[in-house]
């Protein structure tokens, strides 16, 4: 009976007279995807169109390597801000990697799994705090602390690095935890069974296996740090000098745009777009470097003969 029934159904399956929606859905999805991409293209085009001519006018080298930023006199040199952005980002990466990666390693290798399910979401909650709140806490607590105990004005590379580092923690920790958890257990077992300690296993095998994921985590964290504006404006001091120590105040590229866009006009406004172009290129370069490093094979040492 059942067989007969299925056979009938099989035989009488109707030829699709129904309206076939597939091509239309495909086209709609394609358009959506293209519009997302064209958004990127339009933004890129726009900031380049606005920014590049002023770089040409000021002179490429002068623009990048002069620290004289006097918009009213037509002096546009952003070297100190490039250095500021790089210093603050590097500092944030040190803080973010030490704490974020450290936390991820602790959670995945040395903790009962139950801890991960509590601590990881807690760290991810950090991402929900508005950046102005980070800046506020920085100004209210961190800056006076640095001023009183370490010297300098307090508003500094160090303060910005710590604030930004904490802001990158959710990204770095959460993606690193995922990457470390994705490493097959057999790698660790093989290493332990060979007599390696837990720590040797972690840094010689597990971290290598998870490397591409960890690099991705750091890239994303770096993207957040270098692009962050509000918190940095509040704690960096925003002076126009190349920083000589981590206690010196700095202005970053993003802060420069945010601080001056409100009243800029003419060449000044264009120079701010040019600052954006520079930021864009720096981020591209950093991402490319990071991706290349992560893709490079682990190379063994040459066998000594």
């Amino acid at each position: 009976m059942t067989t007969a029934l299925t056979q009938t159904v099989g035989l009488t399956r109707p030829k699709t007279t129904r309206f076939n929606a597939n091509p239309i859905i495909r086209i709609v999805l394609m358009l959506l995807a293209l519009s997302a991409m064209s958004g990127l293209a339009i933004i890129t085009l726009f900031i380049f169109k606005e920014g590049v001519p002023i770089i040409a006018k000021v002179g490429f080298r002068h623009f990048l390597f002069s620290s004289n930023w006097y918009p009213l006199e037509g002096e546009f040199g952003i070297f100190s801000m490039i250095m500021g952005s790089l210093a603050v980002t590097a500092g944030a990466m040190v803080v973010g990697m030490v704490f974020g990666l450290g936390c991820a390693i602790l959670l995945t290798q040395f903790c009962p799994p139950r801890w991960v399910s509590i601590i990881k979401p807690a760290i991810e909650l950090l991402a929900g705090i508005p950046s102005v709140v980070y800046g506020f806490i920085g100004v209210a607590i961190l800056v006076p602390f640095i001023r009183d105990y370490l010297g300098g004005p307090g508003l500094s590379v160090l303060a910005s690095s710590i604030v930004l580092g904490v802001m990158t923690l959710p990204t770095i920790t959460s993606i690193s935890v995922d990457a470390l958890q994705a490493v097959p257990r057999t790698y660790g077992e093989g290493s332990i069974a060979l007599g390696a300690t837990e720590w040797q296993t972690t840094y010689m095998v597990i971290l290598k296996a998870a490397r591409s994921g960890i690099v991705a985590a750091v890239i994303l964290g770096m993207g957040r740090a270098i692009g962050e504006t509000m918190a940095v404006i509040m704690v960096a001091g925003n002076t126009l000098d190349v920083p000589h120590s981590i206690l010196d105040p700095v202005r970053t590229l993003t802060s420069n745009i945010a601080l001056e866009m409100g009243y800029a006009a003419g060449d000044h406004r264009k120079a701010l777009f040019a600052t954006g172009v520079t930021l864009f290129v720096i981020i591209m370069i950093l991402n490319t470097i990071a991706l290349t490093v992560s893709r490079r094979r682990s190379k063994g040492k040459v066998l000594a003969k």
């Binding site: 093989g190 069974a193 010689m204």
Partner: protein, 251 residues
């Protein structure tokens, strides 16, 4: 010392599950001992007692004694690294590290800080020669080990152990992920290695046990039912349950 490894009244509980029941086994040096039995009989658990890998699992309780060269291995306290250097393990699925071939073999040497500089290269070559991988690998030492075939990966895992000069090799179904030809090659390799090392192999392939081992133990439900010369266990088992198993009546 007549026996390389001896256990006496070895009991192991996973929580409330009694996984090993009063196991008494004596492993002779420099030969191949096979442990057979149906899935879940505790043979892998027994194997993992010998390098104290079970203790990594939460809720495991072990009572009884395991003697390696007459010394109780639970007396080694927390220095498991030395024990595991002496008692190496090959796993069911080949598990080379995601490093180059060279770094895989050099791994143990580095972990135990055994060799330096040029000596590392020599030791790696020797270890690869011991598993017949050298000719295939000498020009590919910097390739990722993950690109090798399953058989080569398993050989590499054995090389990795041989490099740290262990005394005992524990093999937990080392051929179950390999095709028949690769299996034959690995069995051949085991025979060669048995001239230097004490090998204990866990397998549920009875033919394999019969082919490679000199002594065989049959386990069932956590008990070591029978232990003796392989030929006798297979042709003239003393226990009815062994007979049923080796004649293929269940399992």
């Amino acid at each position: 010392m007549k026996y390389k490894i001896q256990t006496s009244s070895l009991n192991l509980h996973y929580g409330s599950f009694h996984a090993l029941k009063d196991v008494f086994i004596r492993i002779r040096p420099r030969m191949i001992t096979a442990i057979i039995g149906p899935s879940g009989c505790g043979k892998s658990t027994l194997l993992r007692c010998f390098n104290r890998m079970n203790e990594r699992t939460a809720g495991v309780q072990i009572r009884g004694h395991i003697l390696l060269d007459g010394q109780d291995i639970s007396q080694t306290g927390n220095d498991l690294t030395q024990l595991r250097k002496r008692v190496g393990m090959v796993f069911q699925r080949p598990n080379p590290f995601p490093l180059s071939v060279f770094d895989n073999v050099a791994y143990g040497l580095r972990v135990h800080a055994m060799k330096k500089g040029a000596a590392v290269g020599k030791a790696v070559e020797a270890a690869l020669r011991a598993t017949d991988l050298w000719d295939a690998m000498k020009d590919n030492l910097h390739r990722s080990a993950l690109e090798l075939s399953a058989e080569q990966q398993q050989r590499l895992c054995i090389s990795r152990l041989v490099a740290v000069e262990p005394e005992v090799l524990l093999m937990d179904e080392p051929c179950s992920a390999l095709d028949p030809i690769a299996t034959e090659h690995v069995e051949e390799l085991m025979r060669v290695l048995a001239e230097k090392y004490t090998i204990i192999i866990v397998t549920h392939n009875m033919q394999q046990a019969a082919r490679v081992s000199q002594e065989t133990g049959f386990m069932l439900l956590g008990e070591l039912v029978e232990f003796g010369q392989t030929e006798r266990v297979f042709t003239n088992p003393a226990d009815k349950r062994t007979e049923d198993y080796v004649t293929g009546r269940y399992g």
